[in-house]
Amino acid sequence: MLHTINKSSFERNSLQSCLNTIDDTSVILLIEDGVICAANNANSSMLAELATQGRVFALQGDIDARGISSKVADNIKLVDYAGFVDLVVEHGTTVSWV
């Protein structure tokens, strides 16, 4: 299962809600303003464990747009839109935490 998060964890509760219900095999893809969750900041601990397990991805284009490419936290895997498509294909059902 693939979960997409498109909002900053500073602004909304969508990342927290996703984490409250995610199972042990699902992965998370951060897109749009959701890539703010990929940066080293006061909320980084929310995703650190899942990132260590290789289960957190972020859209490179959205990270570059927001000028935070030098701030990406450890173990977050960057993908382009083709990589987004692959994640959708590989992980079955997609849940969008819009």
Partner: protein, 134 residues
């Protein structure tokens, strides 16, 4: 793989439609089929043929319209606009305009208006359905 897309937000205000478009383009480039794009909620505003963005900006409506003939296997990408959501938001095709006594219409010809059943059907017919929203 057969993939469908639901878009909940209008163009420009939110990135949802932009991301969905980049996703659809990438999926087609990889040989997947975009079966249907369903525009719901403010997403219906992505279908307006009246849209005139600044010269130096992307044209989101035309981007979608151009995608409509681009599936690798030659199948059209269906661009479907929810009729109930559209009427509420002033998006009309010729038929709906006629029924409601309005003298013109604003749906781009690459899109068609239909019912919510088309969204459910997309979920049934496709291997994946991905939602883009606010």
């Amino acid at each position: 793989m057969k993939i469908s897309i639901q878009i909940n937000e209008g163009p420009y205000q939110h990135q949802a439609s932009d991301t969905a478009y980049q996703f659809a383009k990438a999926a087609i480039a990889k040989g997947h089929e975009i079966f249907r794009v369903f525009f719901y909620h403010d997403g219906v505003d992505n279908a307006s043929r009246f849209t005139v963005p600044p010269q130096d900006d992307r044209h989101i409506v035309n981007n979608w319209a151009d995608l409509g003939i681009k599936n690798a296997d030659g199948n059209e990408v269906e661009l479907v606009v929810c009729v109930a959501a559209a009427l509420r938001r002033g998006m009309l095709d010729a038929s709906e305009a006629g029924k409601n006594g309005i003298d013109s219409n604003n749906i781009h010809p690459a899109f068609r208006i239909s019912g919510l059943g088309q969204l459910i059907e997309a979920g049934i017919q496709s291997d994946r359905l991905v939602v883009f929203g606010d």
